[in-house]
Symmetry: D2
Subunit: 138 residues, 4 copies
């Protein structure tokens, strides 16, 4: 089942009110799950390339971005006793991690590295989803 559906079912069952824009929240959680997965696999794909030496920066940023997306997905999934300062700072860190990783992956994607191309797309999507949620939070 898509993660977004799981998120929607769980949000429907949330026992209190919550103020966050629901579709933006769902999209952000899904984008974090997607990007964390893409980065974990891209790091692994890079390790299998003959040109691994040239992909060291990509692997490093993949690992950072996978960790940061996983943490962000968890933090924004929690509605109880929501703390706007924490959510904002975490989203900002995730945006930065996605941008750095996306930039690096894009460079290799432009030179035919297909997993980097796909991963760059997920980084851009996650960066945008975090930006949108951040803007909605204010």
């Amino acid at each position: 089942m898509p993660v977004a559906e799981v998120v929607r079912h769980m949000l429907d069952a949330y026992p209190r009110e919550f103020n966050v824009d629901r579709p933006l929240l769902v999209r952000c959680i899904e984008a974090c799950a997607d990007c964390s997965e893409a980065c974990t696999q891209c790091a692994d794909d890079c390790l299998s390339e003959h040109s691994v030496q040239e992909l060291v920066k990509c692997i490093r940023l993949n690992l950072d971005c996978a960790d940061m997306c996983a943490t962000t997905g968890r933090v924004v999934s929690r509605q109880t006793e929501y703390d706007a300062n924490v959510t904002r700072a975490v989203l900002q860190a995730c945006i930065t991690a996605c941008r750095s990783c996306g930039d690096e992956c894009e460079r290799h994607g432009d030179h035919g590295m297909e997993h980097c191309r796909v991963c760059a797309e997920e980084c851009r999507r996650c960066e945008q989803a975090c930006q949108d949620l951040l803007a909605a939070i204010g």
Copy 2:
């Protein structure tokens, strides 16, 4: 985008051969992402219930299961220099965590706790997906 699609794109781009059954692998990675998310939200939902005192065991198992599913999703996502012993042991631990958490969530789901009902379903699905991948690995 569903996590399963991200996984498929990334597996298409994997530079080496891999021996694992592809559809079972995709389903397992997606089920781990779903279950980790469901457990993170179920713990949070339980914290917002008036009856939180009675849900302490559920929260605890949700936290364990969320962590174990996240780790399992990462380990099985890595194809490079695959180590069957590690994969097997990690899948077995994930199966056990999903079963314990699923049993506890089901008890509360049967008493009208909707988020526990949904979470129990994800635990069962993840347990099954890990079992199927484990059987395929042999």
Copy 3:
């Protein structure tokens, strides 16, 4: 063995140069490990209290802080192809998470909740260690 010793041994063995102030780096990695552990245990301790209902906010912030400290510890542990933007944003998010969690734990610590008192101390220490590393990075 203390984590700080492991970190020192590993930094001694790092094959390239790195520019970060070594003692500040070691202290930050250790503080992240300590605070992540304290928060994981504090959430668990709160779940075992009769007054769990009043500790819901504390548990929620413990979970966020544990996740954010774990990710920060990993990001700052990586020296290869260091990206100052990512490190800075991650440290800032960690500082914010530690401050919110520390404030909430302190309130309960002042009312006799010993695990919250200890956890608040670790949050303050980690916040400071991240601040110091951030200042050194510039």
Copy 4:
């Protein structure tokens, strides 16, 4: 402060009884923190080596082992509503991950790769600490 001290302070403040052998528990939690850190740094060190191509298996097992140790440290840190089946399965998976990673690191450590030598030691120590806790649980 060493993680072991944080753990001891937090266990002193735990509001209920717990049955696990205290020194074995403290040692296991500390060993998981140490090994997770060592593996995170060893993967990063390997990425900085000229011979990164020959260290791909080491990096992959480092990543698995770091994730599994982090999850194990969290699961065994939780005392509330302790579930022996989950703890056992998680410890077993951690033992397997530490053994595979320790074996691979040792091979490179024997050939002068100092960070692999240190990391292998932490893997052995963590494997033993998990074995001891597993034996005590029965």
